[in-house]
């Protein structure tokens, strides 16, 4: 009986994996379009399969960053026309103003994984003000310590060590005074 249970479980697993693999067999294609709507950045992802727009498919939008893609909001399902509409934030930093935007379908029950990308001029160019990088400050490197800091430190250190060296010299003076007598 126990062996029979194992057999049944294995069969169910096989059937389930076959059903899932056949279910995900359909191909889908994503087409991205970018447009400005009332000063908003709107990205539309049209999902078609066999030339027919498909509805209720979850599409995720993301933007390329240095190491990996940053998700833009939550996944949105396509409407009856096969379009998922996203509002892209206007403050995404970019080096040259361009953003690589990705739309993808993943782990869908019916359609295979699909991805599309497009480049758009919606990035905010970040200008770093590095004009003070060579300025002397407490937080600067060792070669850019503030002058007042260096001078006051050396004065204190010099003063204290001056007294210590004076004390050492006095020891030799004691010796001299002993031998002189």
């Amino acid at each position: 009986m126990k062996n029979c249970n194992w057999f049944m479980v294995t069969c169910f697993m096989l059937l389930f994996s076959m059903a899932t693999s056949f279910a995900q067999d359909k191909e889908a294609k994503i087409t991205l379009t970018f447009e400005k709507v009332d000063s908003l950045n709107v990205c539309k992802a049209l999902v078609v399969s066999d030339g027919v727009p498909v509805k209720d498919v979850s599409v995720k939008l993301s933007v390329k960053r240095l190491y990996s893609n940053l998700p833009v909001g939550d996944a949105i399902a396509t409407d009856s026309t096969g379009v998922a509409t996203f509002e892209v934030p206007q403050d995404i930093p970019s080096r040259n103003g361009k953003l690589f935007i990705f739309a993808n379908i993943s782990d869908d029950e019916v359609y295979m994984n699909a991805e599309a990308s497009g480049e758009v001029n919606w990035g905010t160019v970040v200008v770093s003000d590095n004009s003070n990088v060579k300025e002397r400050s407490i937080s600067a490197g060792r070669n850019a310590a503030p002058i007042y800091f260096i001078v006051s430190s050396l004065l204190v250190i010099g003063l204290v060590w001056g007294f210590l060296i004076y004390a050492v010299l006095q020891v030799f003076k004691i010796k001299r005074l002993g031998s002189a007598n």
Binding site: A167, K175, G178
Partner: protein
């Protein structure tokens, strides 16, 4: 150089009979080493060598394997022990220099004991930094690549400077005693007598030499006070110049200095008790000293309590989000028993018990002092370690061992070795040099006779 004749006569009075008796009493511990002393020195040496071996293991196997230090708790028991040893090293400031400058005559038999403790503990404190760094061979990088704006560099500079100042304060005041050793100790190995001869720097005790010596001792006495305070304050700034909530306090420098004052009084009580008993110095380290030290302990205890109130109760009153985790952990959380024990034994007991005259007798006061020292060590542990378990960004998805720090056996062995090293240096010093300054006590007997002789 013209020397006042009266001054010259005054110095000559050291050769009277009273001085000779005193000299014999104070030099006696150098002439013979008993079996007890040998066992004690052997024990301390064994613990110290165990620490050296533990350090060898740490450096060859790596800190991740041999210590409990992880990504969050990067400053462990080595740093808290460093703070404790730096606190001890202020003995010279609180138990010698300040008393000397303010003309408290009872400082005289204590000054050298305080100076030796200072030198020994600052030596071990310096070693603690190197052990904690992990790569002692790169110590010179601090000077080559260090930033003068960094408190770490200030700490290295001030520790090195204070060490040299301690050597000079101890040595220059020791010169007349070295001459006394050379002239009056005979049953000693030749090398030891030769050492006294070389180190006494041709001391003859003439008026010119006394004048130079006293002036230099005075300058160093004045210098070591701000230097010691700077040492302790910079040690506090290592913490308070960070943005970590538990350390981000403007109170930290004064808080650390006041803690050191209390710890140095406790250390002196124990040291005086030990030397008095072991070397039979009851005539010089009298009950009067315990009485005075007990009073000093109460004063320092209340000052330390005041700074503790500033440090803990003011943030607790506000209980801002950043402080809340740490403070609740200490007051009612998993560190509560530890924290309140430290407050009780380290602050309440020394502030209240020595108010009663019976508690200022040698034995009770020494027991209180021992409790203060142990609590003081753990106080620094509580300052350094629990705070690191509450970083500004929450701890997420890390191994369980990273969240809690427990010192390893290797760390504890090395810490024990630094304490043993401090005791060893003090003990060995007392076996080669007079632990009480003969000339300073003699001078006190002559100048401050009323206060010392007629006390009770």
């Amino acid at each position: 150089m013209s020397i006042d004749k009266a001054e010259s006569v005054k110095y000559e009075t050291f050769t009277q009979e009273e001085y000779m008796i005193m000299k014999d009493d104070l030099l006696r511990p150098i002439e013979k080493i008993g079996i007890g002393a040998k066992i004690w020195i052997g024990f301390l040496t064994a613990v110290f060598l165990a620490g050296v071996f533990a350090y060898y293991l740490q450096e060859t196997r790596g800190k991740y394997v041999t210590t409990g230090l992880r990504d969050y708790t990067t400053w462990g028991v080595y740093i808290s022990n460093f703070l404790f040893l730096v606190a001890l090293s202020l003995s010279s400031v609180f138990m010698s220099a300040i008393l000397r400058l303010t003309n408290f005559q009872w400082y005289r038999p204590l000054s050298r004991i305080a100076d030796v403790i200072s030198l020994s503990s600052i030596t071990m404190a310096g070693i603690c930094i190197m052990i904690s760094m992990g790569r002692a061979d790169r110590l010179h990088h601090l000077f080559i690549y260090g930033r003068i704006q960094s408190p770490i560099i200030w700490d290295i500079i001030v520790v090195a400077t204070y060490f040299v100042a301690c050597v000079l304060v101890l040595f220059i005041a020791l010169i007349p005693s070295l001459s006394t050793c050379k002239n009056h100790l005979h049953n000693l190995p030749k090398w030891q007598l030769k050492m006294y001869d070389i180190l006494s720097f041709g001391w003859e005790g003439n008026a010119e030499q006394w004048k130079v010596l006293k002036k230099t001792v005075l300058i160093l006495t004045v210098l070591i006070i701000p230097l010691g305070i700077a040492l302790r304050t910079v040690s506090a700034w290592l913490f308070s110049t960070t943005l970590r909530p538990e350390w981000d306090s403007t109170n930290f420098g004064a808080y650390f200095v006041s803690g050191s004052a209390l710890i140095t009084v406790a250390t002196m009580v124990i040291a005086v008790y030990a030397f008095r008993k072991i070397y039979n110095l009851e005539n010089y380290l009298t009950e009067m000293h315990f009485d005075k030290l007990g009073q000093a302990m109460v004063l320092m205890g209340f000052i330390y309590a005041y700074f503790n109130i500033n440090e803990y109760l003011v943030p607790a009153y506000k209980m801002s989000g950043l402080h809340e985790n740490h403070l609740l952990d200490l007051f009612v959380g998993e560190e509560a028993l530890f924290y309140w024990s430290v407050v009780f034994f380290g602050i309440a007991v020394p502030s209240i018990l020595p108010l009663f005259r019976k508690m200022r007798k040698p034995l009770p006061l020494s027991i209180i002092a021992l409790a203060v020292l142990i609590a003081g060590w753990f106080k620094f542990y509580l300052i350094v370690i629990p705070g690191q378990a509450h970083p500004l960004l929450p701890i997420q998805d890390v191994p369980e061992t990273w969240k809690h720090y427990t010192p390893s056996l290797i760390e504890l062995t090395i810490v024990a070795a630094t304490i043993a090293g401090t005791l060893l240096l003090v003990t060995v010093f007392s076996k080669f040099f007079p632990i009480i300054s003969v000339w300073e006590v003699a001078e006190g007997k002559l100048e401050g006779k009323e206060e010392i002789i007629n006390y009770k």
